[in-house]
Point group: C2
Chain length 124, copies 2
DNA sequence: CGGGATCCCAAGCGATACTG
DNA sequence: CAGTATCGCTTGGGATCCCG
């Protein structure tokens, strides 16, 4: 520890970049934003209303990250008063399949999981 | 099928339980643990060695959560000295498909994303 | 061997206020 | 309208020590 305070990161996890990308795309807010934008382009405040639990700070951060990863497009549609529209990109659309399969998995197996949880919690 | 409409339940998100389940299964450590256990049953310390970056605490917590959700099975194979083996369950195996598709997505589009990121960071 | 119990810090998030 | 800035708290995680 006479070293830096940087945590010792070693080489081979599932692959850091991949993990990182999944985090930025599948997290709580990103997932919901993508879900919404897949259905329709939306303005900032429309997204806030569509996802009531998100704060402006988190939404902004989420959108920036998604834009950075090129799954969402930020389009200024008017300058005064400023209007911004967020749209899913073609790359973003390719996420639909994987995400939907994931959601279908949870939908299909949620009962099993909840039963398992109840049992686990009960035994403990 | 494309009845895109989310029920737009009052104040509810993409569905908290689903989100929650995804979190517990797709997070950094769970993903790597599942990945490993899909290939072979493993003991606790084998997992630590297979995933060098994980701490004992995180690994324990991860395994407990996976066990609680019934995607991983905890099997005591010896009592003295105690030996525990973790195995993927049948439910856990059904996660392979969705997860693999996700990883294939990242693998396929990582170049695009990295280019986009570089461009984004450069412009900023 | 497979953990449980602590301490502790930094990152993240919510809440709030302000701006072009 | 669509953000930026700041602050304070919560908490997840690493590090460490110990036990059956």
């Amino acid at each position: 520890m006479t070293e830096t305070n940087r945590p010792a990161i070693d080489g081979l996890e599932i692959d850091a970049p991949h993990r990182d990308l999944l985090d930025q795309v599948l997290d709580k807010w990103p997932l919901q934003v993508l879900d919404r934008l897949c259905e329709q382009p939306s303005r900032f405040n429309e997204l806030r209303r569509a996802i009531p639990a998100v704060t402006q700070k988190s939404l902004t951060a989420t959108l920036r990250r998604l834009e950075r990863n090129c799954v969402v497009d930020r389009v200024i549609t008017s300058s005064r008063p400023i209007a911004v529209e967020y749209r899913i990109t073609s790359l973003g659309k390719t996420l639909r399949g994987p995400i939907d399969e994931l959601l279908q998995w949870t939908a299909m197996h949620m009962p099993d999981v909840e039963r398992a949880r109840a049992k686990f919690d009960d035994e403990a």
